[in-house]
């Protein structure tokens, strides 16, 4: 089996998408690439089709929230190339009210992963066939994993975070 280096993956992505690749880093052996959110499906398609990459397994999609950033919401994809046994992390950041294209056109598994991300962060996936809440109750009005929502009921006096050093 030929070995696929993280550098090769990065170079190929940069060759193809150039300026749309915003940044990249390698932590604990896994390459992490941040790119323009408008091109998420193009990048996923390229990674799938390229004969030397073949990232064809979608391990995971999840969201993240950085409230102080101008693009507070992140969608993070974990991909796995079974052929070369390399994992890759892709990140796309979105402004409030911005949406990202759905990956359900490529992966059946993306359906629930994106619903979960929507359910907890309120990130909308354009073109998703059934974007509604999945784990939380339908009547919930907030997106609970956003950082502005505290874990405990704020009216309780016995469970203030500072008592616990948090």
């Amino acid at each position: 089996m030929t070995i696929l280096e993280n550098n090769t993956v990065l170079e190929k992505l940069k060759d193809k998408f150039g300026a749309y690749i915003i940044s990249s880093e390698e932590q604990y052996g896994m390459l992490s690439v941040t790119a323009d959110s408008a091109f998420n499906i193009d990048i996923l398609k390229f990674l799938w089709e390229d004969k030397d990459l073949e990232f064809r397994f979608l391990t995971d999609i999840c969201g993240i929230h950085y409230p102080d950033s101008p693009q507070p919401f992140g969608v993070i994809y974990h991909l796995h190339s079974f052929k070369y046994n390399v994992r890759l992390r892709l990140k796309f950041f979105l402004a409030e009210d911005q949406s990202i294209s759905t990956a359900t056109v490529m992966y059946a598994s993306a359906n629930w992963m994106e619903r979960e991300t929507y359910d907890f962060f309120g990130i909308t996936f354009a073109g998703h066939p059934n974007l509604k809440r999945i784990l939380n109750m339908d009547e919930l009005t907030v997106f609970p994993m956003r950082k502005q929502y505290p874990l405990e009921d704020p009216n309780r006096v016995d469970k203030k975070d500072h008592y616990f050093g948090r």
Partner: protein, 411 residues
Amino acid sequence: MQQDTQLTEGIDKDLIVGEPEVEYTTLNLGPTHPATHGIFQNILKMDGEKIISSEQTVGYIHRAFEKIAEHRPFYQITTLTDRLNYCSSPINNMGWHMTVEKLLNIEIPKRVQYMRVVIMELSRIADHIICNSVLGVDTGALTGFLYVFQEREKIYDIFEQICGARLTTNIGRVGGFEREWPEKVFQLIEKFLKEFPKVWKEFEGLLTRNRIFMDRTIGVGGISAERALSYGFTGPNLRATGVDYDVRVMSPYSSYEEFTFDIPVGENGDTYDRFMVLNGEIWESLKIIRQALDKIKQEPAGVYRADAPNVVLPNKKEVYNNMEALIYHFKIVMGEIDAPVGEVYHAVEGGNGELGFYLVSDGGRTPYRLHFRRPCFIYYQAYPEMISGSLLSDAVVTMSSLNVIAGELDA
């Protein structure tokens, strides 16, 4: 159209006006139904006993683990992982410990790694015992279930000797184990390795070539390898379709690369293949445990945790007599460990697939974000496709062979 006119020639036209009446029934399977083994709801659209389509509702036992994890120091998150796949809690615990160790760059002694392998394989056996024996129950064979559950109790006895708990174990700590295993543990494992194969052979003998069982499972709830990959299948369910993806081999952790074992694979991805793959894995797990025990004997005795005083709790005796130990004790209990800023994804082969931990640390005492890649949450969405067109009783069998655990599904 041509054929229709031919058929209707010479027949009284009034009799065949319109179409045969079709009436669909809506059936709620779950949320609490004895045949679903957990709290899932499936709203089935049925034509007689045939399933036309189905709609799933999940989230009945959602406990906001990812949110809670953002407010807890690393060592307190282990108890949350217990409650994901509660049929194989120790694997989740070990996976979490390894994720944190990867973040903190802690070197784990070989002996501890082998001890972890023993624990993980024992809990894999316990997990597969449940899945396969319950599949027997759903096809009408209760005897095997009651018989092999005794063996699961013996595995739980081993866990109890190590950590004091049986089901939600919280076993081990970041950096190793909380104490050395008592000699009793090794005796119990040896006893289990001696007695269990005989029992499991009998259980297999009851079902593997059983005509009724085969008729109920072969060709039921099948899925192709291509669809399974698209649906994000991992673990035994993917291997039943013929794809030999196993995290223990592809991205080895805890020294799995040093062990010799085979990956059982199926062919058709149906219920029978899943049953056979799980059976095969139990035999492989036994092989791995045997090798691990032999390896433990060759390592220096008494090593049960890493030499990392800023992460591993010191012994109580030292805490009372030694200033540094006291300081570390306080710092660790309050969660003040020096976590670097960084992101880690670590995956382990759980009982039912690739269990992944995606941890984002901002250097604080709690994770900034923790996401659990829960295998059955991802593959359970293929269930409607797998059961559409089949009978209601097949749907029940398919679900129990998929090894869907409500705790993991809903997090």
